[in-house]
Symmetry: C2
Subunit: 688 residues, 2 copies
Amino acid sequence: MKRLISIYSLFCLVLFTGRAEDGSRLWLRNTPVTNLPFESISYRGDGGIAVQELQQAWAGMTGSRLPRVDTPQANTLVLKTEKNKPLGKDGFSIRTNETGQTILTAQNETAHLYGIFHLLRLIQTGHTGPFNLTEIPTYSIRILNHWDNLNGTIERGYAGYSLWKWDELPATLSPRYEAYARANASIGINATVLNNVNANPQILSTQYLEKVKAIADIFRPYGIQVYLSVNFASPTVLDGLADADPLRKEVRLWWKNKAKEIYTLIPDFGGFLVKANSEGQPGPQDYGRTHADGANMLAEALKPYKGIVMWRAFVYDPKEPDRAKQAYDEFMPLDGKFHDNVIVQVKNGPVDFQPREPFTPLFGAMKKTPVMAELQITQEYLGFSNHLAYLGTMWEEFLQADTWQAGEGSTVARVTDGTIYPHKLTAISGVANIGEDTNWTGHHFAQANWYAFGRLAWNHNLTAGAIAGEWLRQTFTTNPEFVTPVTELMLQSREAVVNYMMPLGLHHLFAWGHHYGPEPWCDIPGARPDWLPSYYHKASSYGIGFDRTHKGSNAVAQYHAPLSEQFNGINTCPEPYLLWFHHAPWDHRMKNGRILWDELCYKYDTGVQQVRQFQKTWDRMQPYVDTERFLHIQSRLRTQARDAVWWKDACLLYFQQYSKRPVPYDIERPVHELEELKKIKLDMTHHN
Amino acid sequence: MKRLISIYSLFCLVLFTGRAEDGSRLWLRNTPVTNLPFESISYRGDGGIAVQELQQAWAGMTGSRLPRVDTPQANTLVLKTEKNKPLGKDGFSIRTNETGQTILTAQNETAHLYGIFHLLRLIQTGHTGPFNLTEIPTYSIRILNHWDNLNGTIERGYAGYSLWKWDELPATLSPRYEAYARANASIGINATVLNNVNANPQILSTQYLEKVKAIADIFRPYGIQVYLSVNFASPTVLDGLADADPLRKEVRLWWKNKAKEIYTLIPDFGGFLVKANSEGQPGPQDYGRTHADGANMLAEALKPYKGIVMWRAFVYDPKEPDRAKQAYDEFMPLDGKFHDNVIVQVKNGPVDFQPREPFTPLFGAMKKTPVMAELQITQEYLGFSNHLAYLGTMWEEFLQADTWQAGEGSTVARVTDGTIYPHKLTAISGVANIGEDTNWTGHHFAQANWYAFGRLAWNHNLTAGAIAGEWLRQTFTTNPEFVTPVTELMLQSREAVVNYMMPLGLHHLFAWGHHYGPEPWCDIPGARPDWLPSYYHKASSYGIGFDRTHKGSNAVAQYHAPLSEQFNGINTCPEPYLLWFHHAPWDHRMKNGRILWDELCYKYDTGVQQVRQFQKTWDRMQPYVDTERFLHIQSRLRTQARDAVWWKDACLLYFQQYSKRPVPYDIERPVHELEELKKIKLDMTHHN
């Protein structure tokens, strides 16, 4: 019989599991396992954080600790520390030998920790050994970017206020700081930027650095390095310097001193993340200097301490006719001009974290400077924490996209991981979706995006499906009756969002005041044109889409052959990117024989039907899921289903004014009025 | 190509038709007809209103008048007045003879008018003659009840304020008074009650009677008799009598004098409609007298002038355990005690105009007193003027219901039309859905309910389908590409409302503040229990429904055998009335094999899917409909589709708390949260 919410059933649940399934434990639930591969453990010294975490998990799974033995026996897990160059700093191997002992080999304590978490993951997902594997992470820096403000709000945060309690720090240390570090370490994340890229200069004040130090001290055992976003004008704000010109001595000195101060407090401080000359932030161009000038000044200051600079390439200008081109135009001339401890951080797509974009052409094109991808884990453009959108598929699509910059197979993954261009510095970043909500991410399924980012950062060849499956098994149950359909749901979910929000290459149809709902009609007098949806969709009685072909903005030319020509041809361009690269006529014939307008209608409708199918799938899962999370997710899916219809109706009714064609008659009809939808003004400027 | 709203297309439309299709012309659009059956007309005298209306219509159809000839020729329409007892007061015959003349025979001018409108209807729906028909109306009084208040509002009115401009009357006469009379005459309606049954005593003041007279003077040529709702306490309010005891001489005299005053002004005044001792209205029971005492006093006052009393049987008491029984219990003992110019007016169902009710058991049971049905044309409980709900099917179901009171075949139609019980006084009333909206009824399709009421009042053997078809042909187009699917839509529409609002005999799940949306959970402290939905649905963990069997309230005993036993048996009761008569367990096995809970879910879902199908059907009709009405109806259907989902979710999520069973997994899932739905409080106390 299905469980319904009631005091009684909640009571039973708590009684049975010992704790509420509120999502706070993430994928680290350590549920009881019947068939365990080890009966004892052997290690030198105190075993450090790795043994500590293993024992804590073991207690969760079995109710007791794993006995320590001095002499390894059959079924003993042996922790071995040894110099092993191929494993690198973070790698490890796990091998079960012929006597039944399992040897976990690594060079240091943090790598042992990764190995332990890997073993625990295998155990929790149903593996019993023997084991024979080697894991070496793809990227050396696997970093979260928190867009957390010092006042506790989070830009594009949909899971409550910031985890970092700046007011209480450093005196009071929330237990969630350690829980956060543990969660990240469990998936191999080894770095984090604590504050928003729209950085408040105060973060570099001595007062705040002491708070940062307190956090860094908690993160250190888990191998998490702390980074900070810095405001380029910090010297003027904090210490009254006349300007922040990166070529001026006083400025350079200021930064050197600041670096020294930081490293005195935090010897393993990671470095700076910088958003400069972008969306109103100060930067070197304010003084006629280049991005390289700015980045190199900071790099110099950090160099003595092995700190690095992550310099963002997210720049665009309202005066330019195609925002998508600007990062490439501005940064390609600087290729090779950055110091070796600078890495350029580039968003996956050339506009801004849309549900679907082609990859930014800087990937692979910038050959002499290391380039790292910035992914967005928080769902700024994919339904906030209301919509179930598993982003593993999006990132897989991105990482496996072929740039052709060094011949076929020059995937984004391979041009950023040091394989094709042998830069020592490799990294990948994800804008965090974490807040102080009990379940960390608002939507329980948004945890999967945090998880998937970590797993892909560790191994970018993992498939989205495999990651979804292992996340589900740890987070809910290993029962295939649950895992199989819900994996399928997850794998479809991002495409569903694309379908009901902006299919066929449409982008940025979002509302002005937020990026949640649709406002393809949005027109704010005096607004930056590149912040208005019509800049992107360009709907007219002729057709729809942004002409980026040779005859248009020629953004296609930023891609390497054969992509440039493929994207340029209306009949060769992959249809998921059609309206990204083309202003196509309404009667453009699609590959399935439909005209564009009809296909657009079917895509929107498909999105709606997909979400309804997700609801059906989820409701059938009730027997396999605790009541608390079942109902929470059920509720969010209901919202998503309503929102999908909202999106569909808004976009179809709006574009129909231009297409002047009927919605195909076998499609479910709109249920809203365009004029009513235009009146919706959500108060979502701040999302906490 | 489909037309979209634009200044240009509206302009073209106006140019072509000569006037906007705003619905103001109802079914009397007189669109051009190619093949006309007459070339001339012949009549005595001035031909009166019949010829006047014919010529006006002819001008609309052809641009010119039908020439009058003294000597009938082939293709002449001849108006003939003759004594013809079988035709009765209102009947007529139309026969085309061998010389090609068509003779319209009737006893008087009004009957000629009916004949002319009948001919025009035939012409407009595609008939070209020859003709050979006789029409004699089913009921002698075919009356609208306006629930219009003297302040211009309308109780349960959803088409704007009242047509009657009491402030302006009698000096200013709105042209819509005549248009109203014409529309009614065109479908055979011959009487109207101008004011709300919750009657303001002022209506009988001399000042108001002069206003009433002005209206009556306009209606008279169209054969429309004016009636008034009267407040039983009028003598006390208007002239300070100590009480309104119907057996007291002064009171009786007061009413006699009032009758005299009325008839002096309005010689053909129809009579009084009375709501007494019902929902707080005063009545004879306030003085220990019976309904018969009260009705007979008024009947006596009206008798000299051939006026009649329509006395409502809509009574119920919060102290009674089953409201549905009370009209029968209170009125059956009075059978035969009313004067012969009293008719008892009984709502079709025993509760109150619900989407589906069984017939009120008084029909057929009350044999010595004439009984008339009160139907509700205005959609108080069927989605106001937002939902498309064609009520022809509901009334057909009601009129053809077999009461068995005089053996098999004692349909409601036959026990009220004088066939089975030979009362001279026969009547049928409909609570009007008319207001000052340009299209009269708010929803264009609500015009069909006004139309269908008139047509059924004239001939209760017409089928709902035939009426829908002729209404569509006159109101939109005779094109079968339009008429066939839209007739089908209309015929399904009321069942769709039943499905998404309250299927399987559920009733009165409406919100407290209005009767639009669902509030099955409604619980107002201190409220009359019989005004709360739980009084009717009685949902519990065991089951749902009102037990009216022998073991329950025994309302089934008010029905004649074999209905009483049929309704009493849970497996013999027709399923559409299951929860009306039974408190059935959630796992009660339905005839299709499903358990009750599942069937309930499927019914709600079917309702939603039906409305979506209506949308599809309607959108396909765009080529056949003017833009103005197409978009208006399209918009209302969108609202209806949203509301259907609202209803489904509200009821299923609420009842699921009791059934504790899942919604069958192949059904579209809820998209709302119960707690959110509970917060919806529409401000709908007054609907103008």
